[in-house]
């Protein structure tokens, strides 16, 4: 590239404090970065700015929109759609907790107990990624069908009485209730919890467990005092990877829920693609982004792992 390249390489090893000459030009990093970063600026950052400006515009589809700094849109959107906001956060939080409870044993199993089955189990966790998630979500309609074996079993055990009383299901149905939506969300984002958990569990030195056992710690104490604290990075990134996309998801609420289980993603989608009220839609998606950023920042501060993200 530059004249440096043609210079013969040093025949004797350079002195320790002397760094080998850089063979690439000073501008190389910028040329490498340029196309990709330009792509992200034009199609990721700039659209965000556009959306911010859209949210303070007024007008109509026929006459066109103008920026009028009409901040009332935010207030109107929030006062009309706060139930959907609350529901999104509640569903996403429940799904995240369930993912953690379900995912931890499996990640632990793969990391410490699977032995020669480890690779096979890993494949079975990752492979569903390659099957369309919409098809798999639709399969839940079959699994949770009215009068199906799952609903039948829950009915026999009188579980549905309790969940209906709690407002999670309604009567003999699971489909079209909050429980179905949370079940779908949990299912869809479970791998995003398992993989970071597994990564951080796998790094733990097994001898630490032996040492704790030698010091007369019961298995439960070993878990509480050694394993779990050391897996915190995985817990934090897993919960973030589950919670953030689950809050904005509208597929599960549409396919498995009903009109009463609409999440904020459903509202944004219908405002954008059906009602064509762009300012409201833009304001809603901005509020969602801000809320998520605030919650995530708070969570990261609380968990004290700022350097991990």
């Amino acid at each position: 590239m530059s004249t440096l390249t043609e210079a013969p390489p040093p025949l004797s090893p350079p002195a320790p404090e002397q760094k080998p000459p850089r063979r690439r030009g000073r501008w190389t990093p910028y040329w490498l970065l340029l196309p990709g970063i330009l792509w992200l600026v034009v199609f990721f950052a700039a659209p965000m700015v556009y959306q911010a400006s859209t949210s303070v515009q007024t007008g109509s589809l026929e006459e066109g929109y103008k920026v009028t700094w009409h901040f009332v849109t935010y207030w109107d959107a929030l006062s009309e759609y706060w139930p959907q906001f609350l529901r999104s956060v509640a569903y996403a939080a429940s799904a995240t907790v369930l993912c953690l409870l379900l995912g931890y044993p499996l990640a632990y199993l793969i990391a410490f107990r699977a032995g020669r089955w480890r690779n096979l189990i890993m494949i079975l966790v990752i492979a569903p990624f390659f099957t369309s998630f919409l098809i798999r979500t639709l399969a839940w309609k079959t699994i949770l069908a009215d009068g199906g074996p799952v609903v039948g079993a829950l009915n026999t055990l009188h579980v549905l009485d309790v969940t209906s009383w709690l407002g999670w299901t309604s009567g003999d149905r699971v489909l079209a209730t909050p429980l179905a939506v949370v079940c779908g969300l949990t299912y869809n984002f479970l791998p995003f919890m398992i993989l970071p958990l597994y990564t951080s569990l796998e790094r733990i030195d097994g001898r630490l467990h032996e040492a704790a056992g030698d010091l007369y710690a019961k298995p439960s104490t070993v878990f509480r005092k050694v394993t779990f604290p050391l897996s915190m990075p995985g817990v934090v990134s897993g919960t973030l990877l589950t919670f953030i996309p689950a809050t904005g998801d509208y597929v599960n609420a549409s396919l498995l829920g009903s009109a009463d289980t609409g999440m904020i993603g459903n509202v944004i989608q219908s405002q954008f693609l059906r009602v064509l009220d762009y300012p409201t839609a833009a304001a809603l998606s901005f509020i969602l982004m801000a809320a998520i950023l605030a919650m995530v920042t708070f969570y990261i501060r609380k968990s004290g792992t700022e350097d991990l993200v």
């Binding site: 390249t5 063979r23 990093p29 910028y30 490498l32 970065l33 196309p35 990709g36 792509w39 992200l40 199609f43 990721f44 950052a45 700039a46 659209p47 556009y50 959306q51 859209t54 379900l102 044993p105 499996l106 632990y108 199993l109 793969i110 494949i123 079975l124 966790v125 492979a127 569903p128 990624f129 390659f130 099957t131 369309s132 919409l134 098809i135 798999r136 639709l138 399969a139 699994i143 069908a145 299912y187 953030i244 809050t247 904005g248 998801d249 509208y250 597929v251 396919l255 993603g265 944004i268 989608q269 954008f272 693609l273 762009y278 833009a282 998606s285 901005f286 969602l288 998520i292 995530v296």
Partner: protein, 266 residues
């Protein structure tokens, strides 16, 4: 008492396997129902066994068209995102320069943003520009959201590379191009492959961002979405089953090859 002790010792294994069952249950249902012969429009209830759908996977109007469109888009966005992302990853790991922090956050943000927000803002941009929604807008969007994942995957690999290997190559009179092709690229290849595979899977499966920016173009996930309202044909389950089987086989084969190479080295 013996049972209680046994249960206590294996509680993690049992819980883990139950989670695995939860993860795989829909795949089992999809596979079983690909052999169903439904009476009505909806394929939600088991009627009777039949291999009709497997014999005629393209028998539903629009299904194979949307499938091939999705494959094309996934292929092109994989190529685009992998090329752009690999370059960024190398620049970030190998060079010190200004604005690294800003660039790192620009890479991180698309992964931390809910998909609806990205989808909606990209749509506002396209509407403002008066762009024709379709193949190109989908491709642009897919390259955009796959890029960060490729950068992360490649970065992890390049970071663990020993720079002395490249120095050694140069000491042996290899030019910069030769060093890159014969030394750097082969070592970075697993990271690049992982990034590309991830990009392909993400693009092929994406629904939310595509739904916003596709206009009237129908990709495979959008076809599935549409059919969920009209009545899902059995062929959709056939495609779902085939994809799962192909994915498992692909990973198994690549693992066997990797093992063999490993053994040869040892």
């Amino acid at each position: 008492m013996a049972f209680v002790n046994w249960f206590k010792r294996h509680v993690v294994v049992i819980a883990g396997l139950l989670t695995l069952a939860y993860l795989l249950l829909p795949n089992v249902v999809v596979t079983v129902f690909s052999f169903n012969k439904p009476n009505g429009r909806f394929n939600y209830e088991w009627q009777r066994f039949s291999t009709d759908a497997w014999k005629d996977p393209c028998g539903v109007a629009g299904l194979c068209g949307s499938l091939s469109l999705s494959l094309q888009i996934a292929l092109w966005s994989t190529l685009g995102a992998t090329a752009l992302g690999t370059a960024i990853a190398f620049a970030l790991v190998r060079y010190r320069f200004r604005a690294r922090g800003a660039i790192n956050s620009l890479i991180f943000l698309p992964m931390a943003m809910p998909e609806v927000v990205m989808a909606a803002s990209l749509l506002t941009l396209f509407l403002n520009m008066g762009a024709q929604l379709g193949f190109w807008t989908i491709l642009i969007a897919h390259i955009m959201f796959c890029l960060s994942f490729v950068v992360t995957a490649v970065k992890a690999r390049v970071m663990s590379m020993d720079p002395r290997l490249e120095q050694a190559a140069q000491d042996l009179y290899a030019g910069p191009f030769q060093t890159f092709v014969r030394v750097t690229l082969p070592i970075a290849a697993p990271g690049i492959a992982a990034g590309a595979l991830l990009a392909f899977a993400l693009s092929f499966d994406d629904f939310i961002i595509t739904n916003f920016n596709a206009g009237s173009t129908v990709t495979f996930p959008m076809f599935v979405w549409g059919s969920a309202q009209r009545g899902t044909p059995v062929q959709i389950n056939v495609v779902g089953t085939a994809m799962f089987v192909i994915a498992v086989l692909f990973v198994l084969v690549s693992m066997v090859i990797g093992n063999r190479r490993h053994r040869r080295k040892a």
